[in-house]
């Protein structure tokens, strides 16, 4: 008689495939996971508490460090919340710059996801291809904001810097290049039989589950819910562009993959139109007092980040600092379904499922 016992395995916080300092305590029987308990908080910096002692403009750099793969959307959600509260009209040119920056950020973020996800699954090359293209986006954003990752670009009422000469042309040149590369990505990966076997039917959940677990972004759209805040509740100037919301029905890792890849295409479409409509003249900052004091009250705004619905709640008591500030961080909410998905799966699928959720630990831990 062979005596078998369950094994308790710590995956992370130092593990190559947890995308940061995420820890997962799993009970495994052979390679089959019986129970998975996520442990988070290794990267908790208390952004929300710190923000209570800062003026609104001073909070912006902290938002960069939450979802460090798409800092532009984080910048925007905070500025958008304050603008909504204080009723600030943002100049048109600033809105265009914001949209271009955010969409570039979305592509960069999805590229990182694509590369690292395939790295998790065991293919080395896509990572390098993805980072080659991402580097070009980062260079573009660097020219715009002076930083490569933590941009600190947006301000309440506009943006910090105007686009340098010829920058819009560079973005325009980037769009066809990216389309070409994207076709190459599909050639290399999307039809690969091994890849399909690894992701098809893996980590599937239903529409109801997704809504109950409050999933958003590609994690929700992969189940057939066409919910994209850029379409559902257009903010900024997104109502001026025509683009589609990619939706899949299957709800598995491959559906999420397809949604994200198509989102890159749609972002390119938005970029194309935004560059075309970009106003040559105009201000980039609204008339905003040096010290912003939103009126007493509370507000909640939400926008579509690459990972899903990112929201910002501000309670103000009329002072220059917020009374309470809370971010709805999509990675954190998307991660909740993980223990349910992992039950009964094996070790290899653990990586495929966790990777497909697309978490950024800076955002999960806040």
């Amino acid at each position: 008689m062979i005596r078998t016992e369950e094994m308790l395995l710590n995956v992370g916080p130092q593990h190559p495939s947890t995308h940061g300092v995420f820890r997962l305590v799993i009970k495994i029987d052979g390679e089959i996971i019986q129970e998975a308990t996520p442990v988070i908080g290794y990267l908790h910096r208390g952004t929300e508490k710190i923000a209570e002692n800062l003026q609104y403009t001073q909070i912006i750099p902290y938002t960069d460090r939450m979802d460090y793969l798409s800092a532009m959307t984080n910048n925007y959600v905070l500025c958008h919340a304050v603008e909504t509260m204080a009723n600030i009209e943002v100049p048109e040119k600033a809105e265009y710059l914001r949209v271009i920056a955010m969409e570039l950020g979305r592509i960069a973020s999805h590229l990182v996801w694509w590369g690292t996800y395939l790295l998790d699954i065991g293919a080395v090359s896509p990572f390098l291809y993805a980072f080659r293209e991402r580097e070009m986006i980062i260079n573009l954003l660097n020219e715009l904001s002076g930083a490569r990752l933590t941009f600190n670009y947006m301000r309440v009422g506009g943006v910090k810097w105007d686009a340098p000469d010829g920058w819009i042309e560079k973005v325009k040149e980037f769009i066809p290049y990216m389309r070409e590369q994207l076709a190459g990505y599909h050639d290399l990966v999307s039809g690969n039989e091994i890849f399909l076997q690894r992701v098809k039917g893996v980590g599937a959940y239903t529409k109801e589950d997704a809504i109950q677990y409050s999933l958003s972004g590609a994690n929700l759209r992969c189940t057939g819910v066409a919910f994209d805040l850029r379409k559902a509740e257009p903010y900024s100037i997104y109502d001026r562009f025509s683009f589609d919301v990619p939706v899949r029905e299957a709800g598995d890792a491959f559906a999420r993959y397809e949604c994200r890849m198509e989102e890159i295409e749609q972002s390119l479409r938005i970029l194309e139109q935004a560059c075309e409509q970009f106003p040559k003249e105009g201000k980039i900052m609204a008339k905003v007092p040096k010290i912003i004091k939103p009126p007493k009250g509370e507000t909640y705004v939400r926008i579509e980040s690459p990972r899903g619905e990112i929201g910002c709640y501000i309670a103000s008591n009329g002072k220059k600092e917020p009374y309470r500030l809370k971010f709805r961080r999509p990675s954190f909410y998307n991660l909740q379904i993980l223990p349910k998905l992992l039950k009964g799966e094996n070790m290899a699928n653990l990586i495929a499922i966790l990777g497909a959720i697309d978490i950024v630990l800076g955002e999960v831990d806040g």
């Binding site: 390679e31 699954i121 080395v124 390098l128 080659r132 076997q197 690894r198 094996n346 070790m347």
Partner: protein, 334 residues
Amino acid sequence: MMQGLLQEAPSVLNLLLFFSLTLAFLFMVLGFVTYGILAERKVMGFMQGRYGPSEVGGKWGLLQTVADVLKLLLKEDTIPKAADRPLFILAPVLAFTPAFLVLAVMPFTEAFHFADIGIGLLYYMAISGLTTLAVVAGGWASNNKYALLGGMRAAAQMISYEIPLVMSVIGVVLFAGSLNLTEIVEAQSTVWFIFLQPIGFLIFLIASVAELNRTPFDLPEAESELVAGYHVEYSGFRWAFFMLAEYVYFFAMASLTTVLFLGGWHPVFGLDFIPGAIWFALKFSAIVFLLIWFRVTFPRIRGDQLMEFGWKVLLPVALLNIFITAIVKQLFFM
């Protein structure tokens, strides 16, 4: 040549010659390992739009692997406290000994051939099976959960793929009428077995990649899941031994593929003014390049799919191949 030396009356000269040739061969293999790794990194770099090693030893990074090995040799030798000490020390040795042993039967050219034994092919398969032991021992002795999982995966994988590997070469053996590797090469003087045995070749190629634990079958050391698999606790020269074994096997398997399916030292298009050794090296390099190419291109297959593929696809197809080969031989070649 070697056979001649062994059969002559023993003398000091004989002994010296035999040992110096063996030593030369050892250095050749080590040279392959050194520059095979460099070539792999360079080819990968080329395919991935980067340079690869380019700092140590000129702009081609010619001394990069040498420097890496030196670093490994100088590293502190750590053995985990809870490890099974004797087994932990034994495992790397167990891994690399059979890797070198199998090279004895490999006929590189008509003359350069250390042991011309009648059951060369069987010997290769049997000895190479021993490596599984080392991998399991290493994984178990480390007393690390990741290593254990890696070791178990390796054992399951290597055993399952050894069977289709052996089955796939039976077709070759049927055509050549011998298990002796030299005779198998001789039998290909007109037509290579890759043309007579295309299915056999495909199965052999797939199974050999699985045997080598290379992408897409690199589950035992799946770095994204198991960190490094069975050798996660090894460092320094013990780890280097595992790596050495892996690359010597790479060498051996590419040689075996050349011998079994690509006609060994036989020239292409009757270009026989080029020596057989060069032909062998060319064919061998093509196989090595192919395996590196695989590594750049493919994702990793999942454990259960791997088992399913091995037992439900490769094995039946290999059996079918034997059957067809027997019929074809009976009908057309008797």
